[in-house]
Structure formats: structure tokens, C-alpha cells
Amino acid sequence: MDSSVYQVYEDEIQLLKEEIKLLSEKYEDIKQESTFFSDEEVLMSAKLFQREFLRERKGHTPPSDLTAELESLERDLSFLEKFTGIQITSHSKKTLEKTVNRTVRKHRLSGNCQSLPFCLEFQLLEVQNKENVSAAITDLSIIVESGLCSELSKFVSSTEERGNLLMFFRSFSSYAEWCKHRRCTFLHFKAKYPSIVILPEGQEGDHIILRNPQLPGFELMIVWKVHINEEGTTTPVLDLLPKVPEQVGEQKKAAIDNAPTCFRSMLLLFGIETAIENLIQVFSLEK
């Protein structure tokens, strides 16, 4: 009897084993993706599990790895969230396609970046190569609150087009950090000089107004925008807009017209906080 007879069966056995592996993985995937347990349920289960295991321990079974593993993973996740400022509030995925070499999963993700919310959907294609697994993003869809910031919308569309999820996160994080820094700085000056500094659009606004009660009608507006270009580079851009009442003489007017340029030089020399501090001090002393 020649071996080709066996080969037919052995080939089929190999195929069936592969199919079975795929099907069981698919079954587990769907089970995982369609189940949900709340944090309370998880906590309760953890306590139950520990108790059960301690009871069965009797000195020879080692303590469960499962609760230790869970704790370690939760610590890692919590650290990453604090460190990067990216918090994931919900994550769901669905396996769309699974063969021996390719897996396509659709992900839905929402969270916030330094308290700026985002919502994403994308498909992740993973291909098994000889040495490693390669991953690529397709069908990326991003929703952020861009408000009046047209630049942010442009950046988001450009990123969606290129499927550049990594760059989105890096640039959006940077943008969010600048916004946070701006907010903290504004609040700091509001607290330090409550009678002079006004936040007309609250702490999330992009400008503050300086008003000296001794100089009615005279205002200085400090505008602080966070620019983000299509390549994802974020830069803060500050400017000074003085508002002067009509009665002011020509001499003073010249000095005031010069103010924005001086402010920009101060920014370059001393940085943002010091420049604003100096400006407020000069403003509050002026008669």
C-alpha cells in the first residue's frame, strides 16, 4: 500500500485541526466580546475566589495566580492612565474575519485625554508573518469636541484619511496638555489677581481680560490659542489685544500700539507665565 492513501487522510486531519483551532478561538472571542461584568461583580468574584482558594489551600496548593494576575494588570493599566493622561472609559471589539493568517477586528473606543473627550471607531487588521504579526488600521473614524477650533477639525479629518491612529493619540495628548496648562495658568492668575483678571469664557476659554478698576474703558485681552497643524505638531500662540477708550492721547496710543510686540518679545525671553505676570503687574500699577 503506498503512502499516498495515508496522505489524503493526513491532509484532511491537518485541515480539520486548523479549522477546529479557528472555530474554538472564534467561539472564545465572541464569548469574550459579548459578555460584560460590572466592577462590583468582578470585585465580588475576586473575594469569592480568594475565599474558595484559601479554603482548599491546606498547605499544598499555591495561592491563586488569577487574582494576582488581575491585580498586576490593573496596576499596570492604572499607572498608564495616570502617566499618559489617556483614560479609556469604554472599549468594545468585534471579530469580523478570522483565518489562519489574518484577523480583522472592529474596535469602538471612547475615553478622554486630560479630560478632553474622544470617541473612535476603527478596524484593526493583523497578519501573521513568518517572524511577527503586522498590524494596520483601516476605516478610522474620530469624534472630538472641536468647538470653534477649525484647526482641530482639519487635523482630525487628515488623520482619519491616513488612518493614523498613533499620531492622533500623540498629537491629541499634546494638544490636551497644552489646554490643561492654559487652564491652570488662567486659574492661577485669576486666583492671584481676582480684581484685575477676568475669565469671560470661564476656565476653558482661550482668552483672559485684564481690567484695572482705576482705568475704566481700558482693557488688555491676552489670547492664548493652541495651534495644531495637519502633521500633528502643537504650538501655543499668544497675543495681546489692547482696548483703549477714545479719549486717550496720541502719545499713549503709540505706546499702546507697541504693547503687543513687547509682549511677544517677553514671551520669547521669559516664557508664558512670567510674561503674563509682568504684564499684569505693569497694568495694575499704571495710572
Partner: protein, 325 residues
């Protein structure tokens, strides 16, 4: 006396029968004719050494036939085993198929969360949670900075991508006490890791990682563009693409045709900004270099190379139609 060597009979019996035949003869006398002539059996000539020879031959026959029989049995057994295995696997596969189909149907019907009617065990819940957190950690990989806490600090993983494709990832293992120090890393030697660390590691780890990530992503992006150029346009490039390990200097040649004449162009791309994946300079030289038409083309090509990704720029450059002014 039985000569009985019927080919139709069972071979296992043959040996026995022959021996019996000889013993029945009483004293081991075999047919005189066969004795005298020797025996030719199966192509082997046995010395007509009487009974012994004949016995030897029969024994050998029996042995051979026995072996063949055994082999046949083994083959049949193996075949049956394989058939049974196939059957078993087929059944298992069909069961799994049915299970998965039921799952999918349930999902469509309920459109959302499916909870097991039986109350899940504590272990099931915990296993689910572990998988769920691992999935979230994988998402952090996609954001560019992920990592694990270690006994002495943190091991960060910086992932890189060019547009939608994820490329290499690099790790930096940090010690936290007594001061922040890099214990181990997989950053290539041509990335200025020490300079960046010296400037930022002690004061702002986040900034350190961010800048390192910029360098790595830009490097990987440049390398990827060069690889794509080689992969897709090797037939349009004369010779080979030359590059340094940091991939911030690329040199290659291609030909441009105009008026049925071909001109060789040489491109030298310099990426002055290590955190950028577009060139800061694109120097195009051609021989002969004096024709104004060529100068115009060179300028246009230089612009294209500086504004677009390399493989896309090249595609645009070789497919551009020279417009006649």
C-alpha cells in the same frame, strides 16, 4: 501425501500443513521427485539437501508470508485509525460550528449583551476581566506609549507607526530609585538617546518619552518610505537606493524622458530635522545640466520630494506629464 500448495489457501496454514505433511510421511520422507530436483521456490534455489533444505525453504516462506500478513494488518489498522481520527475531528468541528452559529444567532436576536443563563462562576468572571484588561493594554500599545510596572521601576514600550501601519516597537527599562536611570533599552545606536535622556530624563519622564518617540517614529517613517520606494519602484530606479542607517540621507538615480530623449537625474535627499519624516533638502542634479527645461523639471521634482511622502512623490514625479509652455 499431501502436496497441498494451493495458492488459494490461507498462507498461514501453509507452513503448518507442510510440516504436518512431512511428519505424516513418517520419518520425514518427501516426494522423491522434488527431492531429487532440488526446489525452486520464489526464485530461490534450495539445495536439494533433502528434508532440511525443504524445511528451511518452507520456513522462510512462512516467515515471509507472515511478515506480509503482519504488514497488511498494520496498514489496515493504521488506515482505520486515520479514518476514525478523521471522523472524530469532523464531529468536533461540526459541534463547534453549531456552537458558533448559535452564538452568532443569539447576538443578532438580542443585539447586545448575552449573559449565560447559568450563573457564571467566580473564576469565569475573573478570567473575563483579565482578558478585558489585556485588551485595554493592547489599545495603549496602539496609542504609542505603553508599558509594565517592574519591581524596580517601569519598562516602557514605544510603538511606532507610519500612517496606518504599525512598525517596530522599542522598549526602555527604567529604574526609579535612587534616581531615574535607563537600565536596558532596545533603541538603535544612531538615535541620540543619551542626549535626550541627559536633557529630560531626570526632570520630566513624559517629555523624555515624547521626544524619544518623535525621533523613533520619524526614523521608522523615513525607513518605511525608502523600503516602499524600493519595493514598488525598483524598476524605475537606476542602480540601488543608497541610504545611511538613520535614513536621513538618501541618494538614488532615475531617468526622465522628454522629446524622446532620456536624462539621468540624481536625487540627494537630506532630512535635516530628525523628528520629521519629510526631507528638508532635495538636491536634484542631472547631466547635462544646462537645459532650461531640465532645470524646470528638477525644481518641480525637488518641490514634490520635499512635500510628499517619498514613494508617493516618486510616483507623482515619474507619471507627471511635462506640459509644453
Amino acid at each position: 501425501m499431501e502436496e497441498g500448495r494451493n495458492s488459494g489457501e490461507k498462507e498461514t496454514a501453509l507452513g503448518g500443513r507442510s510440516l504436518t505433511a512431512t511428519s505424516q510421511d513418517g520419518g520425514g520422507q518427501i516426494s522423491v521427485v522434488s527431492l531429487a530436483q532440488g526446489k525452486v521456490e520464489g526464485g530461490k534455489v534450495y539445495s536439494g539437501d533433502g528434508v532440511l533444505g525443504y524445511l528451511e525453504m518452507l520456513e522462510a516462506q512462512a516467515h515471509e508470508l507472515g511478515l506480509k500478513q503482519e504488514e497488511k494488518e498494520q496498514q489496515e489498522k493504521k488506515l482505520n485509525r486515520l479514518k476514525a481520527k478523521v471522523q472524530e475531528l469532523r464531529t468536533r468541528r461540526d459541534e463547534l460550528r453549531a456552537k458558533v452559529e448559535l452564538q452568532e444567532k443569539r447576538l443578532l436576536d438580542k443585539e447586545g449583551v448575552v449573559t449565560d443563563p447559568a450563573r457564571p462562576s467566580a473564576q469565569t468572571v475573573l478570567e473575563w476581566k483579565v482578558k478585558s484588561i489585556k485588551a485595554m493594554l493592547q489599545v495603549f500599545y496602539l496609542t504609542g506609549i505603553s508599558g509594565k510596572l517592574t519591581k524596580q521601576g517601569v519598562c516602557f514600550c514605544i510603538s511606532t507607526a507610519y500612517e496606518g501601519t504599525y512598525l517596530d516597537s522599542y522598549y526602555v527599562d527604567l529604574l526609579i530609585k535612587p534616581e531615574v536611570k535607563i537600565q536596558r533599552h532596545s533603541v538603535p545606536i544612531f538615535i541620540p538617546l543619551e542626549q535626550i535622556a541627559k536633557k529630560y530624563l531626570q526632570t520630566d519622564i513624559r517629555r523624555f518619552l515624547s521626544i524619544l518617540s518623535d525621533h523613533l517614529n520619524a526614523y521608522v517613517g523615513r525607513r518605511h518610505q525608502a523600503d516602499q520606494l524600493e519595493e514598488h519602484f525598483s524598476d524605475r530606479i537606476e542602480g540601488t537606493l543608497q541610504r545611511n542607517s538613520l535614513c536621513n540621507l538618501l541618494v538614488f538615480n532615475y531617468t526622465v524622458s522628454s522629446d524622446n530623449k532620456t536624462f539621468p537625474f540624481n536625487v540627494r535627499l537630506l532630512y535635516g530635522d530628525l523628528c520629521c519624516s519629510l526631507p528638508t533638502e532635495a538636491i536634484i542634479s542631472c547631466t547635462p545640466g544646462t537645459l532650461p527645461l531640465l532645470a524646470r523639471m528638477a525644481a518641480a521634482h525637488s518641490n514634490t520630494f520635499r512635500q510628499m511622502a517619498l514613494h508617493k512623490a516618486f510616483d507623482s514625479v515619474i507619471n507627471a506629464k511635462e506640459s509644453q509652455h
